[in-house]
Each structure stands twice: as C-alpha cells, then as structure tokens.
Symmetry: C2
Subunit: 348 residues, 2 copies
C-alpha cells in the first residue's frame, strides 16, 4: 500500500462552491451562509425529485459564481445516498458534461474532491464534484416511513437536506478570479481503507465511522505529512463519533480534540428537535464545507485543514442479514494560499 | 466540454485480470475461459453475501496471477448494482487497500478502468478495478421475488452472475511479466455523458442504454481518434440495444455493424433459457473482458478495441414515480502492444 498521500502533479484549487439546503438547515446557525434554501420540496412532487433538483441547483450556482458554462467543465463526479445514486443522475442529467458516478455514502464529498483533484492535475482543466442528501429520501429508504412516529435514540443523527457543488480547477486564471484574500488549494489527498469494527447498530453511524476516520488520520500522520497546526474537519461523526475518534487517536498518542470540528455538529442548533447526536448525510459535510469552511479559508480564518468526510458502507438488506457496518474516510488537505502567489511556477 | 478523450501521461497497461462466474455462465460458450465458477452460492447463506464473495475471489485471482500482494496496490476502485454498492464494500473489506466506491450501473467496469488509468498515470503504481453482478440479488432488488414465476418479455436480459477484477499498472516491469505476445495497453479513455431518450420500460435496458453508447462513440469519432480498424465492444446492449445502436450511428453516417460485438451476446448460448435479448449486469462486460477479450488482445487476435460498458442510471422508485431511464457509456481504448517494446520511453 502507498504510504504517502497522493500529491497532484499540477497545483489544483477549489475555485467555486454552491450550497442548497432545506428548511431545518436554513433555520440553523449557518442559515445565512447558504446560497439557497428554506424549502424541502424545491417545486417537485416527490422527495427524490426534490433531492435531484438540489444537485442541479447547487452545480448551477457554483458554475455561475465561477462564470463558467457547461463547455468549460471537462468532468463531473457525483454521488448520493439514494439507491443507485439517482439524485445525481437525474439531477445532473441536464448538464452535458462527462459524468462519473460515485458511491461513498457520506464520504462522497471528500471522494469527489479527491477524484476531481486527480483528474484536474492530469487530464482536465476543470472538474465539478457534487453530492446531496435529503432527510425524507434517506429516512424512508434506510429507516422508517416518514409517517411513522418512532422514537429516535440519543446516538441517532439527522440527515441533512442539502447539496453542495465544488469547482476544482488547475487554471491559475480561475484561481485569480476568485473572491477573498486566499484561494483554497488542495495540496494532497489520501483515500481511505474500508474499516469494520463490528458495529451493527444502524442508529449509531458515528460509532461505525469513527474507526475509519482514525485509520485515515493515523495513516496520514505516519506518512509524515501532518503539521501541528492543521485543523481536522470530519464530515458527520456527530457527538458520539467525535468522542470515539478522540479516544481511538489518544490510544495512538495523537490528541486532536483542540483542533477538531465536525460538520455534523455545526449545522443545527444543539437544541434542534430530534437532531440528537448531530447531523449526517452526504449533504452535511458538503454544504458546511461549501458555505462556511471554504469561506473561512478564503478570509484567512482557517489557514490549513484536513477535511475528512466519513461514510458508512451498508444497506438495509445487509443490516437485516446481520452484517456489521463498515466505514470509510477520505482525506483532502486544503490550504489557503494568497491569491497573488498563484501564478508561481504554474503555466496556464 | 473537453472534445478529446483523456490521454494518460504515462503508459498504462492491464497486467492481470480475474473472473468468477455462476453456473449458467459456466455452462455457456465461454465457460472454459473463466478462472472460477459453476456455483451461485460460493458457500454463503445469502445471495448478497455470495456476490460480495465473488468480488473477493476475483481480485484475489487477479493479484495472484500478477504475483502481487496487498502492499503492491495503491488503490482499489469498485462498484456494483446492489443498493449502496455493498457487494464491493463487503467483498473487498478484507483487503487493506485504499478504496474508492463507484456507481456506474452496468458501465462500472469501464468506469473503473477509466479511473484506474487516470490514477495509475499520475499518482499510483498500480490500481485494481473490480465489479460484479448476481442474477439473484439483481432480480429481487430490481424486479420480482425470485420465487415469482413471471413471464419475461423478449427484450428482457438476464443479469450475469459474475465478477471481474483488473490490475492496471504503469510499471513496465509488470507489463513484461505478463504472459502472451502482446500486452493490453490503455491508450486513452473517454467518460460518457448522461443521455436520456425517454425510455420507461425497465424490461428494455438495451433501448435505454443504446443512445448513450451512440453518443460516446460519436463524440469519440468527432475527436478524430477513431481508426477504421478498431473493434467496438459494448457491455450489455443485447440484441435489441445493439440493433438500435447500429440504427442511431447509421443516421450519423457511421456503420459499425461489421466490427462490433456485445458482451451480452457472447456469454450465453442463444437458446439458453430466459436469456432472451442477451445478458446484462456489471459482471457481464467485466467477465467477458477479463476471460475472453483481453486474452484475444494478448494473442494478437484483437489488435485494437474500444470497450464501452453501458449503464442504465435508474432505480425502482424512480421508475415507479414515472421517470424515464437515462443511460451512460464510458469508453476505454485498448491496444495490444508487443511485450518487448514496452520499455520504450518509459521509466520504471
């Protein structure tokens, strides 16, 4: 196994992002930051169609911000939680851009950015990465009918209704056209290994995913790439999973509690109804990264971060057949670089 | 949109492949070519676990043929048809190799080879691409309970029980260690766009996917990369979809009927019970490519081919909600190169 992260051969930047959310997310502490939101239906007659529509809107917003049209994008990578990832295929159908479908569960945002980095550093000018989740599609597909009023356990997380889209570009001109003092540059990426620690409780995804996050962070540390100042951002471990992550890492002599945040703990107010251990879903880390964290990188508030979206690689049939829930975590190392230094050593 | 295919920056080879199939496939005309097969259960107590086991076995075989151990592989890309792609995550869980999950429906084999090419040409030494399908998991997930004895329509296809795994390497030493006079080299790849022509009949996947195959082939022709001698191999259009493909291409002044074959028409005897329009499933193109076509490249019988696996990007909920079935087709351009010329211009 490769011991090092993957370093792109060309400099690669996140030059634009779009975020679209539902009403619960809009009412949360980050509400004002999202590009679009406040409704869960988006004018559609099914939740599945509404989720697809969010992806369409999020990519459109990201493209508009970067002043790009379809022909400017060479590749689109996208995935979601709905069976056979149809939110992506129906949502992005209208864009005539070569498309690669991903399945990474809630790690999809990081997986998409990782692949966009590899593609943009080698064969593409620009690649878009898109993902989404919707509380109503996820709830009825993975758990219970929406009409069913079951009690939620304290470790349960609330699936975010939201979609995030990112434009990854290797063109210095694109980076220079961004707003903000700093441009988010992807320095390196590290794909995760599948990790199974025997968790069988489908209402405790944090516990299923935390070992995968720990595994990737430790592999990254062992590669020698981990600076002392890097902020760790996990996708949707929630309160339960974050606590488990700290314990697992402390056992390996790494303490990250003071420099860690979890997107699942940022998007809802702590007293939001039924959010319990926090938020989850592919959309969770995608919209928090798009609307809040990348803006903090651009303003200089965050200098450098390891963004780790985590996923639980199960389905309902597997859980019913008694299988445990494996997790995965992909890492994307992002640093803010001064916009006026972008041209250094880079040819357009 | 990028008008050209993606050309890898380093030479990339398919240095090994493994194929595992079920009993219907083993009894077919290619039966003797598969590495392992003849049973549909693989010692497991559910069809889903059996499908996962096929992936595990297929990758193990491909690694053994190439004399590789886990540490020699830097990346694993895999996907399947089962909800949330769990055949891949459970099947490949035991391999400690960084993993990226894909969803491309029946186009997954080509999508995996495409991404393995991009990764191997830039950041990896070697990458494995794996996919599978199983008649019993697909039938009960997408169509009817297995016990239900519904009549199948003439356009229906039979989902292949099988898994194919491929090792893609950029190391000339790996290519030189292969058997055969020629080594399959991936010259370029072209990801497909999502194409929706309004097909709503879930028992006619060939019709849903043929427009996507035509779209990718025409984009490839327009890029100027299409030689006159290239064989076209589609994944699982079957009899119906192949006929539609010829018609669509003839309308654009391209006739490929004399130099086209479809994996879905090669794997079962024409009079095999219920195979009707041919075979389908992620496993179909994967096992035919692994067991038959790559061997023909290695012997020189096939000089050059465009391998296009096609996928139908739907799920049952979408079809029930009245949505049409979009298709996609990714292209992988493979040529046999003499083994003794592999070192040319390539550094280990």
């Amino acid at each position: 196994m490769q011991k090092k992260p993957f370093f792109p051969a060309r400099r690669v930047f996140i030059t634009s992002a779009g975020s679209v959310v539902g009403h619960k997310e809009k009412k949360g502490p980050l509400g004002a930051l999202f590009d679009l939101g406040g409704d869960d239906r988006f004018g559609k007659d099914s939740w599945e169609k509404a989720e697809a529509e969010m992806q369409r809107l999020a990519l459109g917003i990201a493209m508009r911000k970067a002043e790009l049209v379809e022909g400017d994008l060479d590749l689109l990578v996208a995935g979601d939680l709905v069976n056979q990832c149809v939110s992506s295929s129906y949502g992005l159908l209208g864009y005539r851009i070569p498309f690669l479908g991903l399945f990474g569960a809630c790690s999809t945002c990081a997986e998409g950015l990782l692949l966009a980095t590899l593609a943009t550093a080698s064969v593409c000018r620009r690649c878009a990465a898109v993902t989404s989740s919707h509380f109503c599609t996820a709830e009825r597909q993975f758990r219970y009918p929406l009409e069913y009023g079951g009690q939620r356990t304290p470790t349960a997380q609330w699936t975010v209704t939201g979609s995030g889209a990112f434009i990854v570009s290797s063109r210095p001109g694109d980076a220079q056209r961004t707003t903000g003092v700093y441009v988010p540059e992807i320095l390196d990426v590290m794909p995760g290994c599948i990790v199974d620690r025997g968790i069988t409780d489908a209402a405790n995804m944090g516990a299923a995913m935390a070992p995968a996050a720990a595994d990737t962070i430790l592999r990254y540390r062992d590669s020698g790439c981990l600076g002392d100042e890097i902020l760790f951002v996990t996708g949707d471990l929630g309160a339960e999973g974050s606590a488990i992550l700290y314990d697992l890492l402390r056992a390996q002599r790494l303490d990250i509690e003071d420099r860690h945040t979890d997107c699942g703990l940022r998007i809802y107010h702590r007293d939001a109804a039924d959010a319990h251990a926090g938020a989850s879903g592919c959309g969770c880390s995608a919209v928090v990264l798009a609307a809040e964290l990348l803006e903090m990188v651009k303003s200089g508030e965050i200098a450098e971060m390891c963004f780790l979206a985590t996923g639980a690689l199960m389905n309902t049939a597997a859980v019913q057949q008694g299988q445990s829930i494996p997790g995965i975590a992909h890492l994307v190392h992002i640093r803010g670089v001064r916009r006026d230094t972008v041209c250094d050593g880079q040819t357009e």
